[in-house]
């Protein structure tokens, strides 16, 4: 039966050969489509990765800027100059359990 199938012909071509040729064409099409879509996705991924990399550079830049702006000396100078603040003195410190004494024993109505 296999031999008969192998010898079967259509317009002079073996049916088996035509079938395999068709299968080959389908495979080529599938590979082409897979590569095309894959390529598009790859370039999209590369684009996103580039964006992530750029963002990371920007984040580090911002971190450096925050560190620069939060320099202790700078904050202290600005606090003194614009807000009139100064380091807390010992007289301004109090323990939590002494708060009632400071508030004069006042209670909520």
């Amino acid at each position: 039966m296999i031999a008969r199938l192998y010898e079967r012909r259509w317009r002079g071509f073996r049916v088996v050969d035509l079938g395999l040729f068709g299968f080959l064409m389908v495979l080529m099409l599938v590979v082409y489509l897979a590569k095309t879509f894959g390529g598009a996705e790859r370039s999209q991924i590369a684009h996103v990765e580039r964006q992530i990399s750029d963002e990371k550079v920007r984040v580090r830049l911002l971190q450096a800027e925050v560190a620069h702006l939060e320099q202790p000396g700078r904050i202290e100078a600005l606090s003194r100059q614009y807000l009139g603040l100064q380091p807390v003195s010992a007289k301004q410190e109090i323990k939590a359990d002494a708060l009632v004494t400071v508030s004069g024993g006042a209670t909520h109505p």
Partner: protein
């Protein structure tokens, strides 16, 4: 006869086998014809060719599948690969950023692509202020790609890019940036343009920083930025008031040896180390040595207690100057009376200290100074750590001088390290700029007994309550300390100057609690300060350094977790017999 027979016998057997196989394949047709089956030859050839193609296809298929499924592409951490010379971030003990590599851009010009040289030159000169016009000319005359300028920020790059000039290219380059500017600059240090550490931690931990960069890690340092900020601010304020040649501030954890803050004044911006003078770049805390003066009395008194030569109540005759070796020793403020050991410390009596040192003897004094690390550079990672100047021979003259801090020059870091051993229960612990894990127990070398530490803490507290260090007191923080005023040797007069001094205050807080309790050492030192009207012209440690030390302690106590409390009465108070120091 076969092809194998034509291959010389010196070739390995494998060659002969392959030769034989090719020969048999090539003569298969003749053999098949001889056997009257010529079709076998064609089939064999087709089979061999088909197998060869199949094998190659299989290899390619396996390779492609492996590349598609098991490739490392996209499995990274999203960062660019580590570039040569890359350095890890430096952070403080709480993770605050101190130093980092930032992506900058180098600008290149390809003159073969430039259409309008005049326009290119004019627009570049206008847009990139730091770019030398002569360099643009040179690049435009060149016949190949030319490096114009580096260190451009993304904003700079965008601005140049927006010019739309042909022939301009950018290449990424890493640049070390210190976002805190002058803050902790001497401790952090700086690098060269190639990413090699040249000073401070950058130099000391160069290899660690490079290795950590490979794993995108960070190097946490021992300093606390809040402590550093308070220390620098108070040091700057004091320096502006007393206009010294230089000033130093140090805060250490005496139990672990961690440096929590280290400041040297004047300071510099490590982003532009070349713009600073040598004097500004000098790390006076590590790289300078000073005759410390009376802060050394803390060591002499501790040695006297530890060796059993003296107790807090031991009496010393300070009624008249004392001759020891070639020196006649006087007191700065003569009390002219018999003093207890506590009085000697509280009134900073040179005579009493020298008499104590004489009892200790040269050998034992030298042994203890060596055990405290005072005869070697401070044990710390910083390469700048300076070698001390010590007496060549430990005789009576050396004893007389070194007992109160003359004739021996040490760095402020070495002083801090040695005081750590006095104050932490008696164990010599090396200083470190690296953050240690919470609760780390550092192994050290025992120098003093715990009871010596407890007595010294009380005596130092008594000095702040009644002695030369009263201006360093901070309410409820049980501050102890010792003033130091060392006259400087003046080569011009070949002797000690009466007007040039090194004034310091070595403080500790809290002085109460068990010997191994958390405890912090603070040193403020001024090199050649000038007295002001507010100090009645005095420029001694008690006037210029002690107040700054007190303010530093007042500010940093919350950061290091020391709470204000009512200090316990001092057991050594009974030995303060010479009255309050005025």
């Amino acid at each position: 006869m076969s092809l194998a027979d034509l291959i010389p016998s010196r070739f390995p057997p494998g060659f002969r086998w392959v030769g034989g196989a090719v020969w048999r394949l090539e003569h298969a047709f003749e053999r098949a014809k001889a056997k009257d089956r010529p079709e076998d030859n064609t089939r064999v050839r087709i089979f061999v060719v088909a197998m060869a193609f199949a094998t190659v296809f299989c290899v390619l298929a396996i390779g492609a599948t492996h590349a598609a499924l098991f490739s490392d592409a996209g499995k990274g951490d999203g960062y660019a690969p580590v570039t040569p010379g890359a350095r890890a971030d430096l952070v403080d003990r709480n993770g605050q950023l101190l130093a980092l590599d930032l992506t900058h851009y180098g600008l290149y010009l390809d003159p073969t692509e430039v259409w309008d040289t005049a326009q290119t030159k004019a627009q570049l000169a206008r847009t990139v202020p730091g770019l030398d016009p002569a360099r643009i000319d040179k690049a435009l005359r060149s016949d190949k790609r030319y490096y114009l300028i580096g260190g451009l920020t993304p904003e700079d790059r965008d601005r140049i890019h927006d010019l739309g000039l042909p022939g301009l290219y950018f290449e990424e380059e890493e640049k070390r940036v210190y976002p805190l500017g002058t803050t902790a600059s001497h401790l952090i240090g700086f690098t060269d343009s190639g990413g090699e550490g040249l000073a401070g931690v950058e130099r000391a931990l160069n290899d660690d920083v490079m290795q950590a960069a490979a794993s995108h890690g960070q190097i946490p340092l021992s300093i606390d930025l809040r402590v550093q900020g308070a220390l620098e601010e108070e040091l700057r304020t004091a320096a502006e008031e007393f206009t010294p040649k230089g000033a130093v501030g140090i805060v250490t954890n005496v139990r672990t040896g961690e440096i929590l803050g280290m400041a040297s004044w004047p300071t510099f911006d490590p982003n532009q180390p070349g713009a600073a003078t040598d004097d500004q770049r000098l790390n006076r805390a590590a790289a300078s040595v000073f005759e410390m003066g009376s802060t050394f009395k803390g060591f002499t008194v501790a040695i006297g207690l530890d060796t059993g030569v003296a107790t807090p109540g031991s009496k010393f005759d300070a009624t008249h100057p004392f001759q020891l070796g070639y020196r006649t020793i006087h007191d700065y403020h003569g009390t002219n009376r018999i003093l207890t050991l506590v009085d000697v410390f509280v009134h900073s009596s040179n005579i009493g200290t020298a008499r104590l040192a004489e009892s200790i003897g040269p050998q034992r004094l030298a042994h203890y100074f060596d055990a405290l690390g005072l005869t070697r550079p401070a044990t710390v990672e910083l390469k700048e750590s300076a070698r001390p100047l010590t007496p060549k021979v430990w005789n009576e003259d050396a004893v007389a001088s070194t007992s109160f801090g003359h004739g021996i020059d040490v760095s402020p870091l070495a002083l801090a390290e040695a005081y750590g051993a006095v104050l932490n229960g008696g164990v010599y612990v090396p200083l470190t700029v690296k953050k240690l894990p919470e609760g780390a127990k550092v192994k050290g070398r025992r120098v003093f007994s715990e009871s010596t530490t407890l007595t010294m803490l009380q005596i130092m507290r008594a000095n702040v309550e009644d002695g030369t260090g009263t201006k360093a007191d901070a309410p409820g923080l049980s501050v102890g300390g010792k003033t130091g005023t060392g006259e400087k040797f003046d080569p011009a007069i070949r002797g000690y100057s009466t007007s040039k001094q090194v004034s310091s205050f070595a403080a500790v807080f809290p002085t109460d609690g068990p010997p191994d309790a958390p405890r912090y050492f603070v040193l403020i030192l001024m090199d050649e300060p000038h007295g002001t009207a507010s100090t009645y012209g005095f420029s001694t440690g008690g006037w210029v350094a002690a107040p700054a030390a007190g303010r530093v302690i007042d500010r940093i106590a919350p950061f290091v977790g020391v709470q204000r409390h009512t200090p316990a009465p001092l057991a050594v108070a009974q030995y303060v017999t010479a009255g309050k120091y005025e």
